[in-house]
Symmetry: C2
């Protein structure tokens, strides 16, 4: 019986190569052109779970992409950990900004990753972080160290709203019954300072279409006389924030939880350099809601961002045209207590109400999810903290994340259990961006830390 | 010796087929992918001018696309008409909105064109209208009816700013010397009511780039904390008009010529139905500068329109990203006395000044041109009016157009002669739009009318 550190050392090259193979499959759930690749990735996950020691693995059909379910039940009297992850990835564009092809993984060292990092779409979000759990299971089964039951639920639609997962969870509460849910799909402060995400933002994502004239028009003959959908869309988007960058949608802030000054000063203790932040993004200044710090703006405050906009002539050269239509994709990050369906409704009502009579407006909801907060006094959190403390040598700091994992709120509602977000990525890993990567150190450290969580969670559950 | 009407009747099928062949060549000057097609079109124009009876035709090299020059000098004591036109066309996108491929011409009847119209990019703007002059020359030479000298100058960069034409004209004043310049690149009120364009708007066309963070970011982790270039661009664009739709660029209106109430009431006499206008565009309401009518807004008032906008994720589905950059193409239509270079400078200074510190802004001028007004008391205008009156049975109405033919101001400056804009297209011909077309009636009527202009202009010049 060897310990996890030495097992990882002996097998690390294989662990890295297995992940690289997984990263070669372009499982982009948002683009139907890649649907076969998404399905192939599900098969690959199934194989890896069987190899890692699951007794039973199924590819569960859903209205959308399948969910890979696996389990190893050693004793029904022992607690059960449900591991969640996703095998789909974000689209890779803009492709031209990648230094190497997004689905041809390469290992390069960076300032933050002197031991090297794997560069590929999905390296961190979430194939790399999900696969740590598969390898941790392998270690525990091979070395007879699995102290409790484990279930895996790996989905293929996280990047497009997890609607099939919701469908699946509602129908399989018995099968998915567990004592704690474990997810690695978030980040930590640094490789020397682990952190546990205790809060997530919710999400409301819509697409808007503004229609002016029934056809593209010559901007000379019609310019100035008809509503230009692009100008109107710009006006409408601009009006969604006031001069203090508060969002102007009536009712938007009604249920926003205001943190106490104590809580805010607790948060402010997390190490943060505004200068380093600006330097890393090459910006002269930050920008956001008046009255809040950068770390508050991206975690405890709701936001509204345009994620994409298009209309008219966008090719080479100049075309003097007034477009018939203009479009934008707009997402709102929500804080706990803001209901995403309600926010989507408020947005739609408001957006339609501010449209001038000279245009027609269509709002199409994409996907959304609720925010979430984990209390730090439950044994799941404490087991995770002990695991981090042992493998990193310092305790983890509880942190609110600005990101959204909509299904976490769903899990609590349907499965009545808490979710522990043990993230091993760094904010600088460029998830959702060109040149996404995941540190070799982080990947292996994750594999080392996870079995410790199982150990302490089982102990504390007695 | 036969008259023009019967000559057109006998040859109309050939006239139509020759134009259709010309329209099959995708001479899109704005897109370098089509450069060989643009050059091939120049060759085709050269052949057609030789066939039509020019003594000498040259393909004149320039820094850009060549200019086709042709001439027939019958007597240096007689006046000389310089015909200008362009053989390049606008890009065809959005391709998917065309009912038939833009470069596979088809003839269909429409409500406004019961005798049929040719549908193709460039059918009206300007291959169809330019080719009327070639066929009018053919009639005059074949039937020995050419009463004066004629020169042709057909360029290939009108849709991208005519910069090579300016270069060419400045260097060939002797070769291009003339008594009047004749252009068919505008429209008329209707097939029963001809009009002559006496005013054109100038143009300033710029492309703007707004850069926020140095890479695309995850909108959850950074949303609300950094300037989103798309939101900022929308804000900046929105701020370019005030609540009365006046343009807010300081100094923008300084040189705008204010028309007298008399002039405005003269203009107001042109037949116009706001209801029909709205119905034709399927809009609930018009939209524009407070205090001016629709026909004033698109002719005697300057405008600012976004012709294209893009940034972030515009593909299928949803991507929660904050883009690093956002772009827009913006054009300003100018009225006489507004200098386009000065306006471009004012725009650039203003746009840079309103950018928040959190983003970087780049403004790139595309092309531009001055506005122009033709007095209706010169013999060129009067000859054109007599020609219209004879071939349509009613006199032409003088009209200001909102469009821009930047080189008209250049011609007056460099060649010291007036330009007569004899347009035969209709506003409904969808130039610069999908399904551009040109009526068979208009095409043939143009060929009929042009020789009458030569006749009366020569008579009046005596």
């Amino acid at each position: 019986m060897e310990n996890i550190k030495s097992y990882v050392q002996q097998n690390k090259d294989r662990f890295i190569n297995e992940l690289i193979e997984l990263l070669k499959i372009p499982s982009i759930s948002a683009d139907s052109a890649y649907s076969q690749d998404v399905l192939n990735t599900a098969d690959a996950i199934k194989e890896s779970l069987l190899k890692a020691g699951c007794d039973k693995v199924e590819i569960c059909e859903t209205p959308g992409y399948p969910i890979v379910y696996g389990e190893k039940i050693i004793d029904t009297n022992l607690p059960t950990v449900l591991v969640y992850g996703h095998y789909d990835v974000q689209p890779a564009d803009p492709i031209n900004l990648w230094d190497s092809p997004p689905f041809e993984p390469v290992i390069k060292t960076t300032e933050k990753h002197p031991d090297g990092a794997i560069f590929a779409r999905g390296a961190c979000d979430d194939k790399g972080q999900m696969y740590m759990h598969v390898k941790a299971l392998e270690y525990m089964t091979v070395n007879d160290k699995l102290p409790c039951n484990v279930k895996f639920m790996i989905e293929g639609e996280e990047e497009i709203g997890s609607s099939s997962l919701a469908w699946f969870v509602e129908r399989n509460q018995e099968k998915l019954s567990n004592d704690v849910i474990l997810i690695s799909d978030t980040g930590m402060i640094s490789n020397s300072q682990p952190s546990i995400t205790t809060g997530l933002r919710g999400l409301s994502y819509v697409e808007v279409e503004v229609t002016g004239p029934n056809r593209d028009l010559h901007s000379g003959l019609y310019g100035g006389a008809v509503a230009n959908p692009i100008n109107i869309l710009a006006k409408m988007i601009a009006s969604l924030h006031d001069e203090n960058n508060h969002i102007t949608i009536p009712g938007f802030y009604d249920n926003v939880e205001e943190l106490s000054l104590e809580e805010r000063s607790e948060m402010a203790k997390a190490p943060f350099s505004l200068e380093a932040y600006k330097k890393a993004l090459n910006i002269e200044d930050v920008y956001g809601e008046k009255g809040y710090t950068t770390n508050e703006r991206n975690s405890i405050r709701p936001t509204l961002d345009v994620n994409g906009i298009w209309g008219g002539y966008t090719g080479e050269g100049a075309k003097t045209v007034i477009a018939s239509k203009a479009y934008a994709k707009i997402s709102m990050r929500l804080v706990p207590n803001q209901d995403n369906l309600n926010i989507t409704e408020l947005f739609t009502k408001h957006f339609e109400s501010i449209a001038p009579k000279a245009v027609k407006v269509k709002v199409t909801p994409h996907h959304g999810g609720q925010g979430y907060v984990t209390p730090i006094d439950n044994i799941g959190y404490q087991a995770a903290n002990k695991a981090y403390t042992e493998s990193f040598g310092v305790p983890a700091i509880p942190q609110r994340s600005g990101g959204s994992i909509p299904i976490v709120a769903l899990f609590e509602k349907e499965l009545k259990s808490k979710t522990i977000l043990m993230g091993f990525g760094l904010d600088s890993d460029a998830i959702h961006s060109p040149n996404e990567h995941f540190g070799i150190f982080n990947y292996l450290k994750g594999i080392e830390t996870i079995p410790l969580f199982y150990k302490y969670f089982t102990e504390m559950s007695k």
